[in-house]
């Protein structure tokens, strides 16, 4: 079954810097979603990008999707200490969504 794979596994930056995380997948998808997890409990949905979209923005978040390369990136601009969390991408066709292992982002104040 398909699964998003994030890289890097861990990323540490200073407050104010931008953070970029990448996601690669293997098969066709309907959409790709990015999630955030603060404390090992529930995931919070950040943004959904459909397979016919190339870029999407939401506040300080920018997501790109390149279906030819089967990859996506999540950019967080002007990072804050509160952005420290794990970030996951989920890919799937129809509703069969699978998650990668995540990127652990640490934003130092």
């Amino acid at each position: 079954s398909q699964q998003g794979e994030e890289d890097p596994q861990a990323l540490s930056i200073q407050e104010g810097e931008n953070a970029t995380m990448n996601c690669s997948y293997k098969t066709s998808i309907n959409n790709l979603q990015w999630y955030r997890q603060n404390s090992g409990r529930g995931l919070v949905h950040l943004i959904l990008i459909r397979s016919n979209e190339r870029e999407k923005h939401s506040g300080r978040l920018r997501v790109t999707l390149d279906t030819s390369k089967k990859s996506s990136s999540l950019l967080i601009t002007a990072s804050r200490a509160a952005d420290t969390a794990s970030y996951f991408c989920a890919t799937g066709i129809n509703n069969d969504m699978r998650f990668g292992a995540g990127t652990r982002l640490t934003v130092k104040p």
Partner: protein, 112 residues
Amino acid sequence: GAGVSQSPSNKVTEKGKDVELRCDPISGHTALYWYRQRLGQGLEFLIYFQGNSAPDKSGLPSDRFSAERTGESVSTLTIQRTQQEDSAVYLCASSLLRNTIYFGEGSWLTVV
């Protein structure tokens, strides 16, 4: 309900005992997922229900694990004869078709 609700939020059980974890999805959501997440690791897909279709059970790690869903409502994940390796957070999520997946807060299972 307003969101995905899971119970119990925490469960400590003795090795060898059976446990049941419950998930109440968002009303009207046809899809329901169970994932497992061990400490510091990613989400491991367990099972997926979509409407009246046969569930995708391909992620269940052993025959000790089973799940049921009543129509498009409540789901229960049952783990029989629990082992210490079953200790993890069990996350339930629901969605409409091809749409955002909403997660519950998870059930933290500790097997001692």
